[in-house]
Amino acid sequence: MIRVQNLVKTFGTFTAVNDVSFDVAEGEIFAFLGPNGAGKTTTIKMLTTLLKPTSGSIELDGLNPEAKQNEVRRRFGIVFQDPSLDGDLTAEENMEIHGVLYHVPHKLRRQRTEELLKQFELWDRRKDQVKKFSGGMKRRLEIARGFLHTPKILFLDEPTLGLDPQSRNQLWSHVKKVNEAEKVTVFLTTHYMDEADRVAHRVGVIDHGKLVAQGTPQEIKDQTKTETLEDAFLALTGSTIRDESAGSADQMRQFAKMWQGGKK
């Protein structure tokens, strides 16, 4: 379903993604793991048509994202690291806008919205403004929205960041359910190794822009002779801490926190 060959992305002299190749089969849940700044988000951005690769090739469902941008966009759903819901609108309205933007016919839109909101346990709150939702509910809504146009692939970029264990468990069980029911391929990134171990069929570990290992969680553990995926991850990527310089997104995040704190 996803085929990446010799993918490279450079920003000036910095190589963010360096000669990465992997395949993700249809219906598979693939976890893309790596320390901060390893190139995960850059890879997702290239896969989802937001960035152009410097070199190498990408195929999503047999299509090149650069050449067939809109056709590729119809085929995937994405949940970003930062929330991308409109807080002033209701859950239902957020779903509706998504449906219209993805050309889902009116009747089907209604039907899918009801189905998905019920499945993600948000149907009772569909008339509430999203800003009144908890972090976990917002995440669930984003994932439900990502499924609305029946994508073949769902990208999840650190979807459980900042959620409590209950919400995280619930979120993954929902994702698994839809993955099984609709045969959706799931491509995810996370910093919680236990999640990747439980949810993913296969994992890839990226560090300094290079793919250092890929296989089933068991294979990775065997390969590094470790007990848990977390130990395997540390064995593969070392234990030095990667300090990303705070980009404008982080600054905005802090600003928003201040702002929201002030409002309450």
Partner: protein, 248 residues
């Protein structure tokens, strides 16, 4: 088309839901209208220029439309990193449609806000020369709104974060307001100031409204219309171009 409509509708819904903001945004125009209107009134009268509230009302309406429309474009900055913009940018829809939907929405909100302030002006004692020509003033409001919604998108797409916001506010928005002749007549100004007012698009908007509502103008209603229409087109094109270059 449906994408443009749904994004326009989104702006409408957000506007009608933010009642507190609607009331809050009336504060500044009210201050200019009441404090300046009645405070400078006697001086203006003595200078032989007539009633200052009459004079300043179209300026205050123009200011409201300017602020409201330019902020709708700058709202992009907020949407960009925290919100909804990404959702629209990965959708299988042409960027230009997204930009048009947003801009039309922002412009419509600005016009609604302008109408609201018009009502406030009438309550404060403003009387248009002819009631029949009031719809024409609405046309000028729409033009002002389009010009600055386009400019707002162009600027909002080019800035990286909120830090640039103050810069835009102090060096673009406020000067455009003060140089537009919203608060003082444009006749007999020193040369430099006159030149500055001539390159300010809002001058033509305020003058256009004045020529219709008060039958007094510095340029001419036709000139005002032509200048605004051309500038609106230029800004929309620049806005669409800058918007298409956004990387997230």
């Amino acid at each position: 088309m449906s994408a443009i409509y749904i994004l326009w509708l989104r702006e409408m819904k957000r506007y009608t839901r933010s009642r507190v903001q609607i009331v809050a945004s009336l504060g500044q125009p009210l201050l200019y209208l009441v404090v300046l209107g009645f405070g400078l009134g006697p001086v203006f009268q003595k200078a032989g220029q007539g009633n200052y509230v009459q004079f300043v009302a179209p300026g205050v309406i123009g200011m409201t439309v300017l602020f409201s429309s330019i902020f709708s474009g700058l709202g992009l900055l907020w949407d960009r990193q925290f919100g909804f913009l990404k959702e629209t940018l990965v959708a299988p829809v042409a960027r230009v449609q997204i930009m048009i939907g947003r801009t039309l929405g922002g412009a419509t909100v600005a016009v609604l806000q302008g109408l609201l302030v018009t009502v406030v002006c009438v309550i404060a004692g403003f009387r248009p020369a002819h009631l029949a020509t009031v719809p024409l003033a609405l046309g000028f409001m729409l033009l002002i709104a389009t010009v600055f919604a386009g400019l707002g998108v162009a600027v909002g797409s080019s800035l990286q974060d909120m830090q640039g916001f103050q810069l835009i506010m102090n060096f673009l928005v406020m000067p455009m307001f003060f140089l537009s002749g919203a608060l003082f007549p444009l006749d007999g100004l020193p040369k430099v100031l006159a030149a500055a007012t001539m390159i300010d698009p809002l001058s033509y908007g305020v003058d256009g409204m004045r020529s219709i509502l008060l039958e007094k103008s510095h340029y001419h209603a036709t000139t005002d219309f032509e200048v605004l229409a051309v500038v609106a087109m230029v800004f929309i094109v620049i806005g669409a171009w800058r918007f298409s270059k956004i990387e997230i």
